[in-house]
């Protein structure tokens, strides 16, 4: 086998996985940046997005319309959670916020189990999504889902980049992330900005959920748990609270995980997550603030 092509193949896999981590990590970092709050319920927006898509599909919508609807439902649920659960305890000690978000996680996951049961369900996608694309006599192979994942992530990130650098609301969000009190002082409507942040963060997680489910072929109520942990790692690698950092961290993590499996002896593969977390600890010893510190986040 040609080593160069093998590396290309692994890079494609890594970018595809990294895109999902980045989509989830960005929302986590965005909310943390403004509210200094670690939102454990963020991963559940993946579940909401995927189940939303599934239900709308059952109702007869074509897949792409249903997926868009699922993302919108995730955004809506994120906003509702902020209004009903987080806003009333805003300003309370950090531990209160943390426990509130844990409670929201349990409520959402149990709602998911009540409605859909805890067993995994098939997540039907159009046949074209599972089609394998082969190049170089099959030495480079990827499915259409990989392409769709990478493309949709790129479009979303470009849209987000435009939003935070070119719109007044985006500018306001960056200001609020830097100094919430200062943002109030210049007369920014901070409550509105927080709603916008939750809507975007949840929509991104919802999109990640749809793509995750499409790759796995199944949905289940606790599907967001593992990706959430990975997104934490990604966000911390990049510098928690920085949008650009979460993006970089997501792809670093994707590369790390794929390459550990691809280039280390196969006996090591089962320890992939252990190696990744060991790397995180070692990394934090040297760069406790992550790859990008907060003052650089404007350069998204």
């Amino acid at each position: 086998m040609n080593m160069g092509l093998y590396i290309v193949q692994q890079v494609i896999n890594a970018v595809s996985l990294g895109s999902l981590y980045a989509l989830v990590a960005i929302g986590l970092s965005m909310v943390f940046g403004i509210l200094r709050m670690t939102n454990f319920a963020h991963g559940d927006m993946m579940m909401v997005g995927a189940f939303g898509t599934l239900v709308l599909g059952f109702l007869g919508m074509p897949f792409w319309v249903a997926a868009l609807g699922g993302v919108a439902i995730a955004a809506l649920v994120g906003v509702i959670v902020e209004r009903t659960a987080y806003r009333p305890v805003r300003g309370a000690p950090d531990v209160t916020l943390l426990l509130t978000s844990l409670a929201v996680t349990y409520i959402l996951e149990n709602l998911g189990i009540l409605i859909f049961t805890s067993s995994p369900r098939n997540f039907p996608v159009p046949d074209i999504m599972n089609q394998a694309l082969q190049f170089m006599d099959g030495q480079i192979t990827f499915t259409a889902i990989n392409v769709v994942t990478i493309a949709l992530t790129a479009v979303s990130l470009a849209g987000l980049g435009w939003f935070v650098t070119r719109t007044d609301a985006g500018l306001g969000m960056r200001a609020a992330a830097e100094d919430l009190g200062g943002a109030r002082l210049v007369g920014l409507d901070v409550d509105r900005l927080i709603v916008v942040a939750f809507a975007i963060a949840s929509a991104f997680a919802g999109l990640a959920g749809v793509l995750w489910a499409a790759q796995a072929g199944i949905v289940e109520p606790d599907m967001g748990f593992t990706p959430l942990l990975k997104a934490f790692v990604a966000a911390i690698i990049g510098g928690f609270g920085s949008i650009a950092g979460a993006l970089v961290g997501g792809y670093v993590l994707g590369v790390l995980e794929v390459f550990i499996v691809a280039f280390l002896p196969s006996a090591v593969s089962p320890y992939r997550d252990a190696i990744v977390f060991a790397f995180l600890i070692a990394f934090l010893l040297f760069r406790p603030n992550g790859l990008l510190n907060r003052t650089q986040e404007v350069k998204l």
Partner: protein, 248 residues
């Protein structure tokens, strides 16, 4: 327009008998003051006398325990600060509180965040650049990379971008090279000429009294002296006594 405003009888801001507590500590005890349209009023006093607290209470960052604040005939104590900014009070805070990772131009733009009418923003920015030419040169630079004096100019410019009816200035001279203090106060004098109403907190008594029409001296949360700036300037001993708390 400035001349008409200056002659209007009703004060633009009336602070009546406000009290503020920080926990068990009382920071303000029955402070009353007023600002007339077109006037520059200085709020003097030693460290911890309650000057910044007074400004922070006016702009809604702190809720007073008692008393009332009226702005343009409307009660504003208890309103959220975003509303108060929208009504026309811009606050250039102590320590400037710029958004350091954002550029000078972005900081200025944020100053207009609460403005209902977004028209004329470019003209306003040009006017601020004319007032502080240094900012025009550095408009694309991150605010955190500027010197203290330049940052103070950004803070002033940001407050002006709100087109305020009343400008609250908290220690514009703090931590700034003397030459820049002169420059900034010269710009403030220019602003005064155009009819901008200001309530100015300062520890630097001389520059403050040169600029102001009237002044109040705060001591341990109470007004200990008030009067026209010109009179206070000629009566340094009385002012010093009001600062330090010797009996008059």
């Amino acid at each position: 327009m400035p001349e008409i405003a200056r002659d209007a009888a009703a004060p633009i801001l009336a602070v009546e008998n406000i009290s503020v507590n920080y926990g068990a500590v009382s920071a303000l005890r029955g402070v009353s003051l007023h600002v007339n349209p077109g006037e520059v009023v200085a709020l003097l006093g030693a460290n911890g006398a309650g000057k910044s607290t007074t400004l922070r209470t006016i702009s809604g960052l702190i809720r007073p325990r008692g008393g009332a604040i009226n702005f343009l005939g409307r009660r504003i104590d208890g309103l959220p600060s975003a509303r108060i900014v929208r009504l026309g009070i811009a606050h250039s805070p102590e320590g400037r509180r710029l958004f350091g990772s954002l550029t000078v131009a972005e900081n200025l733009r944020l100053g207009a965040a609460a403005r209902a009418d977004r028209g004329g923003m470019d003209e306003d920015r040009e006017r601020i650049y004319a007032l502080f030419p240094r900012l025009a040169e550095r408009s694309r630079q991150q605010a955190a990379t500027l010197s203290g004096g330049e940052q103070q100019m950004v803070a002033l410019g940001r407050a002006l971008m709100a087109r305020p009816k009343l400008l609250l200035l908290d220690e514009p001279s703090l931590g700034i090279a003397p030459i820049l203090v002169q420059q900034i106060f010269a710009s403030l004098a220019e602003l005064k000429q155009t009819g901008v109403t200001m309530l100015l907190v300062e520890q630097n008594m001389t520059v403050a009294l040169d600029l102001a029409d009237r002044a109040y001296v705060l001591r341990t949360g109470e007004v200990s002296l008030e009067g026209p700036a010109a009179e206070l300037k000629d009566n340094y001993e009385e002012v010093a006594a009001a600062y330090l708390g010797a009996r008059q």
